[in-house]
Subunit: 479 residues, 2 copies
Amino acid sequence: MRCYHPAVAVGSSNDFDLVILGSGTGGYSAAFRAAQLGLRTALVERAKIGGTCLHVGCIPTKAMLESAEFYARVLHAADFGVRAENPGFDYAAIVKRREGIVERLHKGLQSLVKKNGIEYVAGRGRLEGGKKVRVALGEGGERILQGTDVILATGSRVKSLPGLEPDGERVVTSDDLMRLDRAAESIVIVGAGAVGVEFASLYADLGVKVTLLEYLPSLVPLEDAEIGKELERAFRRRGIEVMTNARFDPAAVGRGDGGVRLAVGPEGGERKELRAEMLLVAVGRAPVTDDVGLETTRAKVDARGFVETDRFMRTAEPHFYAIGDIVPTFALAHVAAHEGIVAVERIAGTDPEPIDYDEMPRATFCRPQVATLGKSEQECAAAGIAVKVGKFPFLANGKALIGGEYEGFAKVIARADDGRVVGVHLIGPHVSDFIGEASVATLLEATAWEMGGAVHPHPTLSEALGEAALAVDGRAINF
Amino acid sequence: MRCYHPAVAVGSSNDFDLVILGSGTGGYSAAFRAAQLGLRTALVERAKIGGTCLHVGCIPTKAMLESAEFYARVLHAADFGVRAENPGFDYAAIVKRREGIVERLHKGLQSLVKKNGIEYVAGRGRLEGGKKVRVALGEGGERILQGTDVILATGSRVKSLPGLEPDGERVVTSDDLMRLDRAAESIVIVGAGAVGVEFASLYADLGVKVTLLEYLPSLVPLEDAEIGKELERAFRRRGIEVMTNARFDPAAVGRGDGGVRLAVGPEGGERKELRAEMLLVAVGRAPVTDDVGLETTRAKVDARGFVETDRFMRTAEPHFYAIGDIVPTFALAHVAAHEGIVAVERIAGTDPEPIDYDEMPRATFCRPQVATLGKSEQECAAAGIAVKVGKFPFLANGKALIGGEYEGFAKVIARADDGRVVGVHLIGPHVSDFIGEASVATLLEATAWEMGGAVHPHPTLSEALGEAALAVDGRAINF
């Protein structure tokens, strides 16, 4: 482990202990931890520090969702004994608030770069081998940075379906939606992963007519099947039209002044024509690895463009690491941050644990929220792991009744042999706020009995998680 | 361990494996676990199943707080880009909603009594020695129940100060406030423990002029000193008048048609006259142990009326247990439930762990919320435990900014020698929902480094807790 010098002197030298290319959540988290561990660190960014998460992803969408959910609640204010006449919303004001939050956090990151003594290099970086980054500087000219170690963290971009080119007006991406100053009257959303269901929820709360199409048989198809089913029920109740197993011809989507039209139906079945003002393509993101000089390194890149690493984020090129959305793991900001931190700790020699993706929580901020960790029942079955399952519904949770949102459940999956928790699946109110408990529990190899034996305060939503853990052994109290 | 028979036959016999006197959260939780473990169980209740928590405590107050906080947010709806004209509230409707929630949970408990095959005995029970309970039945007559083991769980009642008798109109208790169908115009609250600060927050949100008096130097005086300071700042910003070190003569409180008046000042200092429509006495609760026949047992009762037990809730009388608000531990519903469960598991011979009160979370639902576990810095100092402390402010947490409430902080206290977490102190938005993570962590003897290393999803409020844990070792990322 190298010595710790908190205020790293930054000079004009181009030699660094560590050069990080890309300053999204993964890149900047790696940089800050590197500085804490005494590494002279350069952080190269062609756009703004904070990346997708801060500028067009997690933060702005959650800010919009906050306003939309609040508006939806105001529509039912009388249920709470509260009067709010002539309820409405001002989309431009929602956007302005969102931008204010993004800017505040952006300024925060800029000050943390200074505080940590990071050399921030604004410009487009390109690898020249695994230890050198040539940066075309934003202000003109270039700078060649040499790193004892280099981390690639260039992130991802929205992608579409073959034949369905977004135009930013009729056929749009999530990036486009973050640029618009109004909501559509109606929208077809293609893809019911995290991005698709969050926008479906957001727009439904704002009164937009939403049709949600998913190719696979279930919403949030990577999650436990019961989660997808519960979400589908909840969405239907809210008036969202949901079509799973949906098939349509991306190249045949019609666009005109009136909006888009497409013929959608089940595989081999009859198709019906949908019309909407916009179509959102939410079919995932592609890694930004095509023009960063990866071919000058020995790193292995798969057919989809993802960089292959071990669980310390090392590529096949010595001293060259890859983290975040460019590696084929969960494309989530906190996972990128953790990957960056593990890479840096490995570089600094502090002997980190290798990453176990079964300990990484996932959160989706639709209404009801989805927050999960570890394996689904289906994955356990596929892996031949015998399990016991406990469930607890939020309608038996006092705080959920108090909040007026009590759809959903907590589900805990434990190994049948030793009771160890291998999956936690939550759908319901505010569940993203307490899935972190499952992270701690699985990191410490807790059994369901221990998780349920840990006392949860009353009356809180987290009691549902404790009860689900007890239910694994038939010992829930309040259901 | 006795054999498990899920459907316990209930007959006219008066012989039970277990008789539980009192059906608050502690009593009914013990009963349900006892049934799961195959014990023939009788549950005696003179009022309604659910006790203080369900009928006049946790649940109804939190329901009121939910409405009040929502109203306060509606007043600032424009901040979220939401329009809500002429905002107001209907106190009677808030009360009606509250009662609906209580009744729904009450029905739920009644059905769980049936499901678990518990013999529910409605009437006033009195001990005759440690194994017999004589019940004056609600419908007349009496029934004498014999238990192999007996648990006393008679709970607590509001108390007042000597010379200050509540009258239910001018000088009131929290019970009285749950009976009223309107809010006062102004209120003086005596006592800034959990009950006092929750009512202060509730009424302030409803526009009531609130003066909060605390005898000790700090609000929530049992909590870490920094929590009390932060809460005081937040309350003052919200327009609540806060007086700590407050002295007045309880016997000299004037009552008239205009309300109450009292002269209050610091110890030995000048007093000023306060006038308000009501005075709430929130100075704690007294155990209901004075007329339950404890004198017929060998159980030890302290001068204040609390029953002494070991950490399995055993009294000095063999086979006779005491749990909940009648034992001198945290008077919290979830602690009572845990005490009841440990007592029952001890009775059933399933070898439970003795209770460690440093693993019991505490939650107070004022705004900002307070949620804590384990020792304060002051308690560590008094106990001679050398500690390291990490803090993280919610204003550096993206989700808190999004929610528009970002006062407060997360604070983690770890032992200096081995890093084990000994205290977690949260004040801020929704913190009651994720203090459960600290329960799991301390149950599993986690270090701060492990708690911080557990990945928290982004963007969530729980990230603040993870960052505070990392800050213990100077390793927070976003501050």
